[in-house]
Structures are given as C-alpha cells and as structure tokens.
C-alpha cells in the first residue's frame, strides 16, 4: 500500500471541500482498501465520510429513498423494503458475505471497480487501470467476462448485483458537490467502456453520492433477483436477472428486466420488457420473451456459455416472479 494522508470529514462541507481538493472518499472501504493494498488504487489523500448523515431509509408514496451510507445489511433487512422492493433485498443478500455487507455501503456498491483479474494484477496491462496498455482479457482468461456492452478496449464485467436491481427499477442517483446537486438516472450513471474504459461513471471530481431514489410503482412488490454462480454462495454472478412485473386481470401491465454478470454495465432488456407487456403470463411467454435476453451479445473465447445461460436465467426468473401470488 502506498502512503496517503487521512482525514475524517466532520461534516458534509468538510467532505466536499476535501473531495474538491482531490481527496478520495472512503466509507465501508471493502473495495478501496483491497485495491489500495494491491496498489491498483493509489490515492494520495483519503477522506473518511462516515460521519456524514446519509443514513436514511425512507418509504413514501413516491417511492424509496436510501442514504448513501446505509450498510447493505440494513437495507436488505428493512421490513418494508423486503415487502415492497424484494428485488433489492434479494440482490443485496446474494452479494458478498455477511461480513462485507455489514461494512459496505449503498453508495460504495455503485462505485465498485470492474470485475477482472487483469484489472487487479498490476503486472499486466489493463486499459481501465492504465489507458492504452491493452486488454489481455480479450485474448486471455475471460470466462467471467462480459458479452454485452464490450469494446475492443475492455470486456470487464460490472460487479454489482444491487445495481442490476436498481437499473431495472429506474432508480435515480443523487449527487452533491460544492457547485450544487444533480439527479442522474442510474441507467446513464454507468458508462460503457467504449474507447475510454477508465471513465466508469458519470461522477465529477469531488462529487459525492448522497442517496438513491427508487420510484414507486405497481410492479415493485412483485419482483425478485436470481443469481447463477459457480458456487452456491459468496461468489460473483455468472449471470443474474432482476425482474419486476405488474400483473393485473391476467395481463402483464408493466415489466422491468435487467441482467448482471454479462454486461460491462448493469444491462436493461427493453426488448424483453416489450415482449411481455400486455401479454398473459404463460410458460411459453417466459421462454419467448427471454429469447431476446442476449440480443447483441459478443461472446469471447471462454464465455460463449453465457449467451444461452442468460436467456435461461431470465426465463426462470420471469416464471418465478410471474407465478408469485
């Protein structure tokens, strides 16, 4: 680990000021400390933001608001979140381990770095870590990598389960800096790698995630998350699916579907949603709609299986959520 200066921000003003001066925010530290020890991250200045008041979990008629410093454990266990936004609770409890979920925050979850062995290995090239140094994953070990949203610069998978659920539910990220507040739809918060894979999100220098908001809707309570992994627990997704549906009078009035483990960003599936909307639930419908789940996929040498697996993952989760009373 490289040396750094450490400050604990006593309030928001102090945090934003330290952030504007180039300080790197730390909350749970589960990503940052790990990557600092690997010397992938080398911040000169680290700013502890845990004294800030972003701890609220509020449910109201317009939806859910979650402070950025809420721990994964606490959001997952919140009784009303479990009841009204089960896809969020499930995505969280299928993430990481109980220990890490006690530490990691909701804001930090969105800020996880890409899931790629080469990104973590400072002896290899990586266009995210060091622009222009190449992407050894494209011709190398790429079984866990993305098949959607990739570029010839980067094929790393986005690691967050929570973000897949939030993308499905049209969440909004609330950002704050000394220059003011911004509201960014989560779908445009994460950036495709393209030719600038080092730019992972729409966060400006010094800006802080304050909270996320998830709009209310008839679909949120009939929702769920399925994660397919190499081992049963404590593992990243090979594929995953977040599904929410509003089914009334025997017809699907609204459908929200996003997938994880397959994209360079959490991947929304509007074609699958269109195929579901207005239809009557049936086994055939789940299969037909899920057939569009890998549209545009570009498999690599080691991850061709994900193209079929993601379709089956979506079909399974549509059936599970669709059958729920």
């Amino acid at each position: 680990m490289f040396p750094f200066s450490f400050t604990k921000a006593i309030d928001e003003r102090a945090a934003l000021s330290a952030g504007a001066a180039g300080g790197r925010y730390i909350a749970g530290g589960t990503t940052l400390v790990d990557l600092m020890r690997e010397t992938v991250e080398r911040p000169a200045s680290v700013v502890d933001i845990n004294a800030l008041p972003y701890r609220e979990i509020q449910l109201g008629p317009t939806g859910l608001r979650v402070g950025a410093l809420v721990r994964m454990t606490d959001l997952a266990a919140h009784p009303e979140v479990r009841g009204q936004f089960p896809v969020i609770s499930q995505a969280l409890e299928l993430s990481a381990s109980a220990q890490l979920r006690n530490m990691a925050t909701i804001g930090g979850n969105l800020m996880q770095r890409p899931r790629c062995l080469y990104f973590r290995d400072i002896t290899s090239g990586c266009n995210r870590r060091q622009p222009g140094s190449g992407c050894p994953a494209i011709g190398g070990e790429n079984r866990g990598h993305a098949v959607l949203g990739t570029s010839d610069q980067c094929v790393a998978t986005h690691p967050s389960d929570l973000s897949v659920a939030l993308v499905a539910l049209d969440a909004v990220v609330l950002l704050r800096s000394a220059r003011g507040d911004r509201r960014v739809p989560i779908g445009s918060f994460f950036r495709l790698p393209g030719t600038t894979p080092d730019q992972e999100h729409d966060l400006r220098p010094g800006e802080l995630i304050v909270a996320i908001e998830v709009p209310a809707g008839a679909h949120t309570s009939r929702s769920g998350y399925l994660k397919v992994r190499d081992r049963q627990s404590y593992e990243f997704a090979l594929t995953s699916a977040a599904v929410a549906m509003d089914i009334q009078g025997g017809l699907i009035r609204a459908a929200r579907v996003a997938v994880g483990g397959v994209g360079t960003v959490p991947w929304r599936l509007p074609e699958v949603e269109r195929a579901l909307t207005g239809q009557a639930p049936s086994v055939q419908l789940w299969t037909d709609a899920a057939a569009r789940a890998a549209d545009g996929a570009k498999p690599l040498s080691g991850n061709r299986f994900k193209v079929e697996l993601v379709k089956r993952t979506v079909a399974r989760q549509l059936a599970t959520v669709g059958a729920r009373v």
């Binding site: 750094f4 604990k8 400390v33």
Partner: protein, 209 residues
C-alpha cells in the same frame, strides 16, 4: 486471487523450529529489537513488515475486548494488523488479507466484519471483540465449547474467524436451518472442509442460546 504483493505468506515470517532451539518469529523479532537490532533482523523487517513499520503514525483510541487501548499506527495499518502486531492479540488470523476468506473476522460495534479490510485509523472510538474476548475467564463461550465437542476444525487456522462469525450469525438469528447457517456463514472459508461439523456446532449453540 493471488498477486505478488497480496495474499502470499511471507516466507521470512513463518514459525521457525530448529531442533533444540525453538523460537517463533514474534520472539525473534522482539529479541532482535531488544539488542539494538541484529543485522539479520533488518532485512526481515524491510521485506515483510514494511507497511506496518512506516512513518507517520497516529494514535487510535479504541476498546478491545472491553479494555480501552491507545495504539499508535500508520494510516495504512489494518485493524487486523493493529490487533496482531500492536496488541499481541494473535488469535485473529490473517488468511487472504483481501476480504475473501473470513479468517480475520472480528466484531466491530457488535457486527461481524473483515478486519483485514478495515483501516485502523477508521476505528477511533470503536468497540472491538476478538476471539480472546469471548471466554469468561476459564469458561469457554458456548460456541467455543461446541467447536470442541463437535470436532469443528482440523488445522484450526480459520477457526477463530469461524467462531466470531458464528457468534454473530447466532445473534442475527440466521440459524433456522442448516441451509440458512451455510448461507450466512459463507464468508468463512475452511480449506480442511470442516463445514458439516461447523454447521452442527452453530446449530446446537443457537438452540441452547
């Protein structure tokens, strides 16, 4: 994931047993420092403990197993290294040192965390419970006793982390079935594969709690 700088055991720092003269590295380093630094000790420290030995210390005030401590650390020191290297509480183990194995699990404010990913400087005012803080004098914590009764370990390296995590798992009431225990204990890896007996020990302790 193994990397050159990350997870590998430091070869110079392992336990040393040389026939009639048995000395562990902790005593060795301590003795070397006491005689003004033997020549041989310098490269050991430089090679292995450099990140804990660096300049720029701050004092962290925290409670460890109910005892208030003021410990001088470098910014980079993890809570794990604070415990093991600064307070001689070596019951907490360093496995992967990257949050993947759970050997370093302690309770921080009553919640289980990976101490390897916790910066010590962020623990000002914190209450830490380690494996050394579980027993009541000579009376083992019920889960410690259950681990013995059910033979819930083999090599023992992951055991303190398993027990700390198990204590939290029981407090969280995630012990409704063997499957639930397995899921909520999945952050603790046991390379000997003692899982079946670990689950039994936790289940039995939860029932009696």
């Amino acid at each position: 994931m193994s990397t050159p700088s990350g997870s590998e055991e430091c070869p110079h720092m392992s336990e040393t047993n040389t026939g009639p003269f048995t000395i562990n590295r902790r005593r060795f380093v301590g003795a070397s420092a006491a005689v003004g630094g033997m020549v041989a000790a310098a490269p050991l420290l430089a090679g292995c403990a450099a990140e804990e030995q660096a300049e720029g210390t701050v004092t962290v005030n925290l409670s460890i197993n109910g005892e208030r401590r003021a410990v001088a650390v470098d910014n980079r020191t993890s809570l794990l290294d604070l415990l093991r290297e600064r307070t001689e509480l070596t019951g907490t183990k360093k496995g992967c040192n990257q949050g993947a194995c759970g050997a370093c699990t302690v309770l921080l404010g009553g919640r289980r965390v990976n101490s390897c990913l916790t910066l010590a400087v962020m623990c000002e005012g914190a209450e830490v419970t380690t494996i050394e803080g579980l027993a009541d004098g000579d009376r083992l914590h019920p889960l410690q006793q259950a681990f013995i009764d059910h033979d819930a370990f083999q090599c023992g390296y992951c055991t303190s982390g398993q027990i700390m995590s198990g204590v939290a798992c029981i407090a969280e009431k995630h012990t409704g079935s063997p499957g639930e225990i397995r899921e909520w204990m999945s952050g603790n890896i046991c390379r000997c594969g003692a899982y079946t007996n670990i689950v039994t020990a936790i289940a039995q302790t939860a029932t009696r709690a």
